[in-house]
Subunit: 350 residues, 4 copies
C-alpha cells in the first residue's frame, strides 16, 4: 500500500513528539515533514532523546515546508499560532487533510474564541469547515472534513463520560461540578516556573480555577447535548506530580428518576463496540495507571452518598487519547482505515 505522507507542525512539543512516536509505528504513514522553528536544522533526537534509536527527517522551519509534498498535516502548535498556517494550507492545498491538535478551531463561535483566548480569530471563515474531533461522538463529521479540530485533553475525558448522559436527559447539566486532575505534561514543554520538577513535585496545586479555557469546549458540547444556551459548568483543574494522565471526577445531579445504575447503562449503551472506551466493571474505580501511554479511556459511575446524586469518573492519557492518539484515530477515520491502526499499544504499567 502506498504510504500517506504526513507533516507534523510543532514537532518539538510533547504533543508533537507523541504523534511522532505513534506515527513511526503506523503501517501507512510516512513522516516527511517535521517543523520546529526554534530548532530548525537539528536532528529530532537532539530535541527528544528518546528518538535516538530511529531515523527521522531533520526539523525544519514552517517556512521551509513544502505542503504540496504531503497528504496530511498534524498541527501540534500552541493556540493562536495555528490559524494563519492552517488557513494557508487549507486554501492553497485542498487535498491536504489537517488534523489540528491545538485549540484554534474547537469553538464554533468565533466570539467565544475571542472571549476565552483573548485573540481575534483570524481564520473564522474556515471555522465552519472544522469537525470537532471527538471521535466516538462525531464520526460522520470527521470522515467528511478536511479540517479536524481535536478536542482538548480535559474535554475529551469529560465529554465522553457526560455527553451521553446529557443527551438522554439523565443529568442536570446546569448543576455540574467537574473536579479535574492532570499530570504536568498537559502544561506543555515551555519553560514555566510552576512546571519545574521542584515546584510541581511532591505537591498538588489547583490552577486556573473558574477560568480554564477547556471550560468553553465543555460548555459548548454539554450545552449542545442538553439543548441549553449559555450553559455554565464548574470545572476546576489541579496539577498532579506525574507526567501523564488525567482524571475527571464529575459530580452530577440526576434527573427523571435516574439512578447511578441508569447512568452507567447509558454509557455502556453509548460505547458498545468502541475499541478505546472501557466502562469498568462493578465499582472498579478509574485510575490514570490504567491508561498510561495508551489510547484507552476508562470510566465508571459510582452512587453518591447524597440521594439523587452520582459521581462519574473518567480517565485517559492526556497526550494520547487526550491529544496525539485521538488525532491519529481521527486520521485513520478520515482515510477510511481501521481506527485502531497505530494505536494498539496497551497501557504501560507500572
Amino acid at each position: 500500500m502506498e504510504k500517506i505522507k504526513v507533516g507534523v507542525l510543532g514537532a518539538s512539543g510533547y504533543t508533537g513528539a507523541d504523534l511522532i512516536r505513534l506515527a513511526l509505528r503506523h503501517p501507512t504513514i510516512e513522516l516527511t515533514v517535521l517543523t520546529a522553528n526554534a530548532h530548525a536544522g537539528k536532528p529530532v533526537k537532539d530535541v527528544f532523546r528518546h528518538f535516538s534509536h530511529v531515523d527521522l527527517p531533520d526539523l525544519i522551519s514552517i517556512d521551509d515546508a513544502d505542503w504540496a509534498a504531503v497528504d496530511a498535516v498534524f498541527c501540534g502548535l500552541p493556540h493562536g499560532t495555528t490559524q494563519a498556517i492552517t488557513k494557508q494550507i487549507f486554501e492553497t492545498h485542498p487535498k491536504v487533510k489537517i488534523i489540528d491538535m491545538s485549540a484554534d478551531f474547537r469553538l464554533r463561535d468565533p466570539a467565544a474564541y475571542k472571549e476565552w483566548y483573548g485573540l481575534d480569530h483570524i481564520a473564522a471563515e474556515i471555522q465552519p469547515e472544522a469537525a470537532y474531533g471527538l471521535t466516538e461522538l462525531y464520526r460522520d463529521e470527521i470522515e467528511a472534513a478536511r479540517l479536524i479540530a481535536c478536542p482538548g485533553c480535559y474535554p475529551t475525558a469529560v465529554l465522553l463520560s457526560l455527553v451521553p448522559l446529557a443527551i438522554k436527559d439523565l443529568i442536570d447539566a446546569t448543576d455540574l461540578v467537574i473536579d479535574a486532575k492532570s499530570g504536568v505534561s498537559g502544561a506543555g514543554r515551555g519553560l514555566k516556573e510552576n512546571t519545574l520538577f521542584c515546584e510541581a513535585g511532591e505537591g498538588i496545586s489547583p490552577y486556573a480555577v473558574g477560568k480554564h479555557r477547556h471550560m468553553a469546549e465543555i460548555e459548548q458540547e454539554i450545552g449542545k447535548a442538553a439543548n441549553l444556551e449559555g450553559l455554565r459548568v464548574n470545572f476546576t483543574p489541579h496539577l498532579i506530580p506525574m507526567s501523564r494522565g488525567e482524571l475527571t471526577t464529575s459530580y452530577v445531579r440526576m434527573k427523571n428518576g435516574a439512578s447511578a445504575s441508569d447512568l452507567k447503562d447509558a454509557l455502556i449503551d453509548a460505547y458498545s463496540g468502541e475499541p478505546f472506551v472501557t466502562i469498568l466493571d462493578g465499582e472498579t474505580l478509574p485510575q490514570t495507571q490504567m491508561v498510561r501511554g495508551s489510547n484507552y479511556v476508562a470510566m465508571n459511575v459510582i452512587p453518591d452518598r447524597i440521594p439523587g446524586r452520582a459521581i462519574v469518573i473518567s480517565t485517559l492519557d492526556n497526550l494520547v487519547k487526550g491529544s496525539a492518539g485521538q488525532a491519529l484515530q481521527n486520521f485513520n477515520l478520515a482515510y477510511g482505515m481501521d481506527e485502531t491502526l497505530g494505536l494498539e499499544q496497551l497501557p504501560l504499567f507500572p
Copy 2:
C-alpha cells in the same frame, strides 16, 4: 522547668514518628516511653533511619510500659486497637492526659462508630469524656479534657474551612461536594499493594468513594454547625503520588445572598489571630507545597463560574496539622503552654 514525661503508643507508624520528630525539639517534653509491639526491643533508629542522629529510648511493647511513670500519652495506633489501652490508662491513671490520634474517640455516637468502623465500641462509657481535638474550634473542651480525640487529617482540612461558613448559615450544608486529595502517607506504613511506589507513583486513584470513614466526622461536625440531623455530604478522596500533603476542594452552594467574598470574610473573621491558619490573599490558590512539614493550614475562597456557588480550598500536611502537629498543639493547650511550642517549623519547600 520540669519536663513533662511523654509516652507514644504506636511509635513505628508515620504518625508516631512525626510526633517524635516534633516532640524531640519541644522544650518541655521528655520522651520516656515509646511502644511498638512488633519492634519491641529495637532502637528507634532501626525502624526509622532518620532518627539515626538522636538518642531515644528503645521501643517496648505496650505491656511493658509503666503508665505511672508518664504524664501524657500520645496514641498513634490504628483505630480499633486504642480503646482498650486508652480505657485502661484513663481509668487507672487519672493524672495522665491522653491525646489520641486514632479514630476511636472522634464520633460522639457509638452507633456511628459501629456503622463506620464495623466494630462495637468497647470503651463507649468514656467517649463522653473525649474532647474533639480540632484546636481552633474546640479550645475550651480541649483545655478541660483528659482525653482528646484529634480529628482525622481530611476532617481537619474540611472542617476548618467549612464550619465557620455553616455556623453563619452562609452555605447550604445539604449540598456539599468535597473532592479531596491526599499524599500516600495518609494510608500509613502498613504493607499494602496500592501504596507501593510502583502502584501509587505516576498516577492518581480515587478510593473509598462514597465510603470513606472520615465522612462520619465531617457529617457530625458540619451537621452540628448547621444544626442539621442526619446530614449527608459528598466526600471523594483521591490518592496522589506525593508523600505528604492534603488538599480539599469543596464546592458549596451559598445561602442568604452570600458571595464568595462574604465567605472569605467569615473565614478571616473566624481565624483572626490564629497562629496556624492562613487565609490567602486575593485569589492565591492553596497548594500542598505551601504547608509541607509544617503545622499551617492555608485556605481561600474562589468564586465559581456558576452563579450562587463558590469553591473553598484548604490544604495542610496530613501528618502535622492533620495529625501529630495538631496533637501537639492540643497538648500545649492542655498544659497551659503557648500553643506554638515545638511547632514553629516553617514549611519545607522545595
Copy 3:
C-alpha cells in the same frame, strides 16, 4: 499462520505482566495459560487494572495448568521456585520451549548458585541445557536451546556494555567499579517496607552493597570474556524514585593503550546492525528516559578526567530489555522469527 500457544508462570508479578502486555500485541502468540497461585480463579484485570481493556484467560494455579496444551512457557516466578516446575516441564514435555526470566538457570556452576542464592539447586542436571539468554551475545546457543535463562536486568545493562570491551582486552576486568541505579519495579510487586511509596519516594538508597546476586552473573560473564577465573568486580546498586529504568555507570581502567574512543569503536563494531542496541552520538549521555517502556538499550563511552580511565554508561528498561522484552526477543529467535516482533514500541516519553 498458526499461533504459538504460550503460558506465563507468575502472571501476577511485574515481569509477568509486562510479558503479557507485549505478548498480547505479538502477531503469532496466543496466550492460553496464565498462572498465579495466590490469585487463581481471578480475572487478570482484577490483579492488574491496566488490562481492563482486553480479554485474557483467567488466572489459574500452576497445578491446574495443562502443559501439553502449550508450545512455550515464560517463567516469571521468583528464584528458587522455578526449578521444580521447569524440570518437570522440561522432562515431560520435550516440545515445550521454556524461557525463564528468573535467576534459577543463569549460573553455570551450581555451586555458585548455592553460594549466591543460599539454596541447593534441585535441577542441576538440566543446567547444562540452559542457554544464557543475553540475546546479542549468545544467539547460537539461544536458537538451539529448549531452556533459555534470561539474564538479570542489571547484568543485561552491564554485560552488553562491557563484554565486547573485555573480549578485545581493552579494559582491565580486575579493576571494574560498576555503580548501578534502578527504578523500584526491579524489586518486584511483593510487599516490602522499603518499596512503599513513602519510603522509596523523594530519596535515593544504596542497597545490597557488596552482596547483590546479580554480581554472580556479571563476574561469570566478564570473567568468561576476559578469560579470568574467580574474577571479582565492584557492583553497587542504588534504588531510585522511579518505577522503571536502570542505568549503570561503569568505571574502567583501559589496557593496551586504548582510549575512550577505542572503547566506543569496539561497541559500535559489536552492535552494528543490532535492532535494539543504540550507541549514542558524540558525548550524548544515556538516561533512562531514552528507553522507558521499550526494548532498546542505549550506551556510550565518556573519557574520564583521570588519564587511562573511561566511563561506560548503559541504560535500559528493567522490565523490557532487562526482562520481559529480552525474553520475547529470545522467543522470537528460538522460533526463527524476526527478533523485533512484538517489540517495536518506541520509548514512552515523557
Copy 4:
C-alpha cells in the same frame, strides 16, 4: 539579646529561600534586607508561596540595599555575579561579615576559577581573605574570616567523608572514583528544560560527566589533604527525580594496609562530638531520606568485594548542610554562638 541584622542576596532562589526559612526561626537573626532584582518590589510570598504564613520585608534590588544597616550578608547569587557586590561590601563595610553560598570564592587559585568557570575573577585580591567554609574542617579560619566561601553541595558530602581518610593516608587519592547523585533543586530555580517535571521525572540522567565544576573544589581539598599537586579525581554526577538530597558513593583504594574498618574508625575519630555528622552503625547504608530538610550529614564505610577497596557513602540535604544550613552554621561560628542555633530541625520523613 540584640539581634544581628542580616541581608540575603538572591532571595528568590532555592538557596536563598532555605536560608530565609532557617533564619526566620533563628533566635538572634533579624532579616532586614532581601534582594531579588527580577522581583524587586514584590512581597516574598509572591515568589515563594510557602512564606505566606510569615512577615518578611519586601524584596528589593541590590542597588537599593543599604549595607550600612546590616551586620551580615548571605549571598545566594549564581557564580560570577557575586564578586563585584562582595568586593564592594567587603571594602566599604568592614564590619559586615559575608557568608557566600556561591562558588565565587571557593577556589584559592584564581587561575583555577578561570579554568573551571570560564570567567576572569574580578575580585581576586580579596580571595586570600576568604575562608573555605567547610565547618567541621576549617573552624579556625571561619571564626577569623570576614568572608566565608561555603563549599558546594557535592564537595561538602565528598570532602567530609574523604578528607580525614586522605589526611591519614589511608586511601590512594590518585585513584578516586566518586559517583554522585543529586535531587533537582541542586540545579536551581532557573528555567531549564532538563529540570522540568516531565524531563527530570521518572528517570535518571548523568550530567556534566568529567566536567562538573565541583570537581575543582574536590581536587583542591583532597589534594591539600593528601599533599598532592595537580590531583585529578573522577567525579560523575547524576540527576535523580527527587527535590532535595544528595548521595555520594566513593570508591577508594586503600593504602598502608588499611581496612574498611580502619577507614570507619578514622571517620568516627574525626567527627567525635560533632553535632551534625553521623557515622552510621554497622553496615547501615546512608540514604537521603535520613537527612531531608536537616543539617545532618550521614556516612558509612562498606567493605568492597574487591580486596583492597572500600566504598565510602555520604549523604546530606543539598540545600541545608550542602548550602544554607552550613552557611548558617558558619554564621553561628563566626559570631561566637552555639553552632546548632536555628539548625535543630530533625529530618522530615516521609
